[in-house]
C-alpha cells in the first residue's frame, strides 16, 4: 500500500497562519519582557502581523479561486476581501487599545493574543468551504470574544456581559451544530458545494463529493429544519432579531474597543458565513429561506431602530443601531443574487468605516474612570472640541444614510438589489425604519451643536491614534461616498461565485 503525502496548499491559508503565529509570538514575547516594561512593542508586533497577513491576502488577489486542505477552505477573492476587511478592523482595534489599556489596567499580552486568534476565527468563517469549518470559525471567534468582553475586570458590567454572552452563545453554537448535523443527514455531506450539488445547484467550484446523496434525493424536511437551525446559530452571531437579546448588554458592558471590534468584525464575519453558506449550499431552495430571512430582516430593522430611539447611553444606542444595520445587510442576502452579494460587501465596508469612526470618537471622549458614554455627555461638544464634534456628526449622518456619505451608497446598493429581486416592500420598510434612525442619530448632533455644555468639562486631548482613525474614517466616509466605484468593483469581483 502506498501512501501519498497530500500536497498542502499552505499559501491558501497563509493569512490565517500569519495571524496565528502573531498571536503565539505576543504571548511568548510577554513572558520575556520585564514586568513593568512598555506595552507598546506588543501592540506593534500585532500590527506588524496584521500588516503581513493583509499583504499576503492582497498578494493572492487575482489568483484562480480554488479549494484547499481537502476542500475545507476556499482561497478566492471573497476570502481575500474579507481577510483585508477583518484585519483592518483588528488593526484599528489595536490602535484603540493604546488608550484603553492604559486606562483600564488590561493585561496587554492576552489582549493582543486573543484579538489575533479571534481574527483567525473571522477569516476562517469567510473562507470556510465546509459547514464544519464554519463551526470551527464561529467557535474560535466566540471563545476569544467571551474573554475579551469581560476584559475590564474592575467593572462589574463587563463581567456580567461576558457571562451573558457565554451562556447564550453556547446555546447558539449548539443550534448551529445541530443544523450542520441535519444538513449532513439530509444530503450526506457537510461540504458547501457538495450540499449544493445534492440539492440541484450546478456550476461553481466543487470538490470530491463521495458521500453525498445523488441530486434530488435529499430529504427536504430534514434539510429545511437544518437550514432553520443554521439561521438561528449564525443569526445569533450577527445579532438578528429575535436572536439579539444579548447584544445591547454585551455592547454596553464590554470595553469600548471590543464593542467596536465585535459590532463590526464579528458581525461582518457572521454575514460572510451566511452569504457563503446560503448562496453556495442552498441557492436552489432560496424561495424557501428568502421569505424567512425577509421576515427576520424586517423584524431586525424595525426592532433595532425602534429600541435605539429610547437609549440614553451612546454605546447602547450604537448597539441597537448595529442591530438595525444587521437588518439592512440581511436584506442583501434575501436578494439572493450577484448584485445582492456585491451590495453586502459594499455595505460591510461602509458600516465598518463609519462605525469604527463613531467608536473612535466615543473612545476619544472617555477618560480614566469615566467612560462618558451618556448621550448627554455630548452636550456642547461643538464648542469644546469642534473637530471631534464635526467628525461625530459626519459619522452619525453616514450611519443615518444621508447622502453624500458612504452610508448612503451602501443603503442604495443594498436596497437596489432588493428591489431588483422583487423585494420592493422590504426596501420600503427598511428605508422607512431608517427614518426613525435619523432621529436618534440627530439627537447626538443636537446635543453637540444645540445644547450648551454642562459644567466645566476639563479640556482633554484625545489620543493621537484615536484622532487619526476618526479623521481617516471621516475622509473615507465622504470620499467613498462620492467615488464608490473602486470598492464596488472589488466587491463585484469578490462575489463572482454567486450567480
Amino acid at each position: 500500500m502506498t501512501f501519498a503525502l497530500p500536497s498542502l496548499d499552505w499559501w491558501a491559508i497563509a493569512p490565517m497562519l500569519v495571524l496565528t503565529l502573531t498571536g503565539c509570538a505576543t504571548l511568548v514575547a510577554d513572558l520575556l519582557r520585564a514586568e513593568d516594561a512598555n506595552r507598546e512593542p506588543l501592540a506593534w508586533m500585532t500590527v506588524a502581523g496584521i500588516a503581513i497577513s493583509a499583504g499576503v491576502a492582497i498578494a493572492s488577489w487575482g489568483e484562480a479561486p480554488r479549494l484547499a486542505f481537502s476542500d475545507m477552505v476556499y482561497s478566492d477573492p471573497f476570502t481575500q476581501f474579507f481577510t483585508v476587511l477583518f484585519v483592518s478592523v483588528t488593526a484599528v482595534t489595536v490602535l484603540f487599545s493604546f488608550e484603553q489599556l492604559g486606562r483600564e489596567d488590561f493585561h496587554p499580552a492576552e489582549f493582543y493574543t486573543l484579538i489575533a486568534f479571534s481574527t483567525v476565527g473571522m477569516v476562517l468563517m469567510a473562507a470556510a468551504a465546509d459547514l464544519v469549518m464554519v463551526f470551527l470559525g464561529v467557535e474560535l471567534l466566540s471563545i476569544c470574544l467571551y474573554i475579551l468582553t469581560g476584559f475590564s475586570r474592575r467593572r462589574m458590567e463587563s463581567e456580567e456581559s461576558a457571562i451573558k454572552y457565554l451562556l447564550l452563545g453556547a446555546f447558539a453554537s449548539a443550534f448551529l451544530l445541530y443544523g450542520v448535523a441535519l444538513v449532513y443527514g439530509s444530503t450526506g455531506s457537510t461540504n458547501l458545494s457538495c450540499v449544493g450539488l445534492a440539492i440541484g445547484a450546478s456550476g461553481g467550484l466543487a470538490g470530491a463529493c463521495d458521500g453525498a446523496v445523488a441530486a434530488g434525493t435529499a430529504s427536504k424536511a430534514v434539510l429545511l429544519a437544518g437550514v432553520g437551525l443554521l439561521i438561528v446559530g449564525l443569526g445569533f452571531k450577527a445579532a438578528l432579531v429575535p436572536f439579539h437579546s444579548w447584544a445591547p448588554d454585551v455592547y454596553e458592558g464590554a470595553p469600548t474597543s471590543i464593542t467596536a471590534y465585535m459590532s463590526v468584525g464579528a458581525k461582518a464575519a457572521a454575514f460572510a458565513a451566511l452569504l457563503r453558506v446560503f448562496l453556495v449550499a442552498f441557492p436552489t431552495i432560496s424561495p424557501d429561506w428568502s421569505v424567512v430571512l425577509a421576515i427576520v430582516a424586517t423584524l431586525t430593522m424595525v426592532t433595532g431602530n425602534a429600541v435605539a430611539l429610547l437609549q440614553k447611553n451612546i454605546k447602547r444606542m450604537l448597539g441597537y443601531s448595529s442591530i438595525a444595520h444587521a437588518g439592512y445587510i440581511l436584506v442583501a442576502i434575501v436578494s439572493a443574487s450577484h448584485v445582492g452579494a456585491t451590495s453586502l460587501l459594499v455595505y460591510a465596508v461602509a458600516y465598518a468605516v463609519m462605525n469604527m469612526g463613531a467608536f473612535a470618537v466615543v473612545m476619544a471622549l472617555g477618560q480614566a474612570g469615566n467612560e462618558r458614554t451618556l448621550i448627554t455627555d455630548y452636550a456642547g461638544l461643538s464648542r469644546r472640541q469642534p473637530l471631534l464634534a464635526a467628525l461625530m456628526a459626519a459619522f452619525m449622518l453616514s450611519l443615518a444614510g444621508i447622502p453624500p456619505t458612504f452610508g448612503f451608497v451602501g443603503k442604495f446598493y443594498v436596497f437596489s438589489a432588493a428591489v431588483e429581486s422583487g423585494f420592493a416592500w422590504l426596501a420600503l420598510i427598511g428605508l422607512l425604519s431608517s427614518v426613525a434612525s435619523v432621529y436618534y442619530y440627530l439627537r447626538v448632533v443636537h446635543q453637540m451643536y444645540m445644547v450648551a455644555p454642562v459644567g466645566e468639562a476639563a479640556e482633554h486631548v484625545p489620543g493621537r491614534w484615536l484622532s487619526l482613525v476618526a479623521v481617516v474614517a471621516c475622509g473615507a466616509v465622504f470620499l467613498l461616498g462620492l467615488f464608490p466605484g473602486g470598492v464596488v468593483a472589488v466587491a463585484n469581483a469578490s462575489t463572482m461565485f454567486v450567480k
Partner: protein
C-alpha cells in the same frame, strides 16, 4: 463660452466658499459673512452668464455636462439647465446674498458655522436644480436637509430643536418614498439618467404600465409635496418657519420650497405624464385646499411671521394648481409664480424681520401707524403686499392670472372648478394682506414708538430703513415691478421647457 463647464463652476464656487469661510474667518468669525457674500456674488455672476448664454430656441437642455459615475447602475454626473431651472437658479443666486446680508442682527453667534452652512445649502439647492440624473438629484435634494436642520436648530428661537427635528423627519419620510420609487424605476430601465429615462419610457413597448406609473408618481410626489408643502402635509412648516432666524426662513420659503415645486414639475409630471394627468384632480384639490386653508388661517394670525408663513402655504397652492392643470398658460404661470412667491414672500419675511429688529416683537397688535414713522418702509411694504395679493402691475398678478386662465381650460376633469375656488383664494389673500398692512402701518402710532420730547433721533424711537436694508430690498422691488410690467424675458426663456412638459401631458391624455 463654449467649453467652460459653467454649471460645475457655479456649483464649485459655494463649495470653495465653505472652505474659504472655514479657513479665512477667525474663530470669532468676523470675516465669515464677508467671505460668504463674496462667494455668493461670484455665484450670482456665473448664473448671469447662464442667463445670457441660454438660447430659448436652442436644445431642450443646455450647458450640459455628463461624466460617468456609477456605470453599473447607469448613473452619471449629468447636469444641464432648461428655462425653468434657469429662472430658479437666478432666484437662488439672488436670495443667498440677500439672506446673508439680512442675517445681520438676528444671527450674531458662531458666524463662521452660519456662513458655511448657508453656502452648503446654496450648493445643495443649485445642485438639485441642475441635476439631470435622478441619483444626482436625490443626493442634492437630501443634502439640503442637513444645513437646514442645523441652521434652524442652532440659530432658531425657543422651540427650535423640535421644529428642526420635525422638519427633518417629515421631509425624510417623503425622500425615502422617492428613493424606493427611483430605484424601482432606475433598475427596471437600467439608467437613472433623466433624458435616458424619458426616452426609454416614451419608446414603443417601453411603458411601465399605468398602475406602476401611478405608484411611482405617488412615491415621487410625496417627497415633493412634503417639501413644498402641500396641505395636509404642511404641519412641519409653521413651526420651522417661525422658529428659524429670518434669513433662514427666507431661504427655506423663497428658495428651498421651490425645489419641491420644481421637482414635482420636472420629475413627477415629466416622467409620468399619464399618471399626472390621472391624478390631476386629486392634486388640484389639495392645492386648492391649501390656497383656501392657508388664507383662512393666515387671516386669523396675530403673529406677523406666522401670518406670512401661512400665506406662503396659500401661495404655493397656486403654484401647484398651475403645474398640475397642464395647459401651457397654467404651467407657465406656475413657473413664473414660483419666482414670484420667492420674491414676494421672501420680501415679506425680510420686512417682518426688519420690524422685529426694531420692536423686538412679532405681534401685529403691537404695531400701528408705522407709515408715519417709517415712510420708505411703508412705501415698499405697499408694493410687496400688492405683489403678494396679486394686484395688477405687480409680478403676482402675472402669475396668478396665467394660472387661473390656464386652469379654466385644463383638459383634466374638474380642474376648472378648482380654478374658481382658487380665484376666491385671491380675494381672501387680498383681505388678510391688506388688513395686515392696515393694522401695522395705519391708525394711531403705538406710544412705545414715540420718543420723549423729540430726542436726538427725531420724533420717533425707531427709524426708517437704513441704507443696508434698502440695498437688500431694492433688487426684490425691481423684480416685482419688472415681472409685473414686462414678464416677456422670463416667459420667453421658460416657454420651450414648459411646452415640452405640456406636450407630454397632452399626449398622455389622448
Amino acid at each position: 463660452m463654449n467649453g467652460v463647464p459653467l454649471i460645475s463652476l457655479m456649483l464649485a464656487i459655494p463649495a470653495l466658499g465653505v472652505l474659504g469661510v472655514i479657513a479665512g474667518a477667525g474663530r470669532d468669525g468676523a470675516a465669515a459673512r464677508t467671505i460668504a457674500l463674496l462667494s455668493s456674488a461670484v455665484t450670482f455672476v456665473i448664473s448671469l452668464l447662464l442667463w445670457v448664454g441660454y438660447e430659448p430656441a436652442g436644445a431642450r437642455f443646455q450647458f450640459e455636462e455628463q461624466v460617468d459615475w456609477l456605470p453599473d447602475f447607469g448613473i452619471s454626473y449629468h447636469v444641464g439647465i432648461d428655462g425653468i431651472s434657469l429662472l430658479l437658479i437666478l432666484l437662488t443666486t439672488i436670495f443667498v446674498p440677500v439672506a446673508l446680508a439680512a442675517s445681520g442682527s438676528s444671527v450674531d453667534t458662531r458666524l463662521r458655522e452660519f456662513a458655511s452652512l448657508v453656502l452648503v445649502l446654496q450648493f445643495a439647492i443649485l445642485g438639485a436644480l441642475v441635476a439631470l440624473d435622478l441619483f444626482v438629484f436625490y443626493i442634492f435634494f437630501e443634502l439640503m436637509l442637513v444645513p437646514t436642520f442645523l441652521l434652524v436648530g442652532v440659530w432658531g428661537g425657543e422651540r427650535r430643536v423640535a421644529a428642526a427635528m420635525r422638519f427633518f423627519l417629515f421631509t425624510m419620510v417623503g425622500s425615502v418614498a422617492m428613493l424606493v420609487g427611483m430605484i424601482a424605476l432606475g433598475t427596471s430601465k437600467g439608467t437613472f439618467d433623466y433624458v435616458g429615462l424619458i426616452d426609454a419610457l416614451g419608446k414603443p413597448g417601453g411603458s411601465i404600465g399605468a398602475a406602476t406609473a401611478m405608484w411611482l408618481f405617488v412615491a415621487f410626489t410625496l417627497a415633493f409635496a412634503i417639501k413644498v408643502p402641500l396641505v395636509p402635509l404642511h404641519s412641519w412648516l409653521p413651526e420651522a418657519y417661525v422658529q428659524a432666524p429670518v434669513s433662514v426662513t427666507v431661504l427655506m420659503s423663497s428658495v428651498m420650497a421651490k425645489v419641491g415645486t420644481y421637482g414635482f414639475l420636472r420629475f413627477s409630471i415629466g416622467l409620468f405624464p399619464g399618471a399626472a394627468q390621472e391624478a390631476a384632480s386629486a392634486v388640484a384639490l389639495l392645492a386648492t385646499l391649501g390656497i383656501v386653508y392657508g388664507a383662512l388661517v393666515a387671516a386669523k394670525q396675530r403673529d406677523l411671521k406666522r401670518l406670512v408663513a401661512y400665506s406662503s402655504i396659500s401661495h404655493l397652492g397656486f403654484v401647484m394648481l398651475g403645474l398640475v392643470a397642464g395647459t401651457t398658460e397654467a404651467v407657465q404661470g406656475g413657473v413664473i409664480q414660483m419666482v414670484n412667491h420667492g420674491v414676494s414672500t421672501g420680501a415679506l419675511f425680510l420686512m417682518a424681520g426688519m420690524l422685529n429688529e426694531r420692536a423686538r416683537t412679532w405681534a401685529i397688535a403691537h404695531f400701528g401707524g408705522l407709515a408715519r414713522v417709517m415712510p420708505v418702509f411703508a412705501a415698499l411694504l405697499v408694493l410687496v403686499t400688492f405683489s403678494s395679493a396679486g394686484l395688477p402691475f405687480t409680478n403676482g398678478f402675472t402669475g396668478e392670472f396665467l394660472i387661473l386662465t390656464g386652469a379654466f381650460r385644463a383638459p383634466a376633469t374638474h380642474v376648472w372648478a378648482f380654478a374658481v375656488v382658487g380665484a376666491v383664494g385671491v380675494i381672501l389673500g387680498a383681505v388678510y394682506l391688506l388688513r395686515m398692512f392696515q393694522q401695522v402701518m395705519q391708525g394711531p402710532v403705538n406710544p412705545a414708538f414715540v420718543a420723549g420730547n423729540g430726542g436726538a433721533n427725531g420724533p420717533f424711537s425707531i427709524g426708517d430703513l437704513t441704507g443696508r436694508e434698502m440695498l437688500i430690498l431694492a433688487p426684490l422691488a425691481v423684480l416685482i415691478i419688472w415681472i409685473g410690467v414686462y414678464p416677456k424675458p422670463f416667459l420667453d426663456r421658460s416657454a420651450p421647457a414648459v411646452r415640452a412638459v405640456t406636450a407630454s401631458f397632452a399626449g398622455a391624455s389622448r
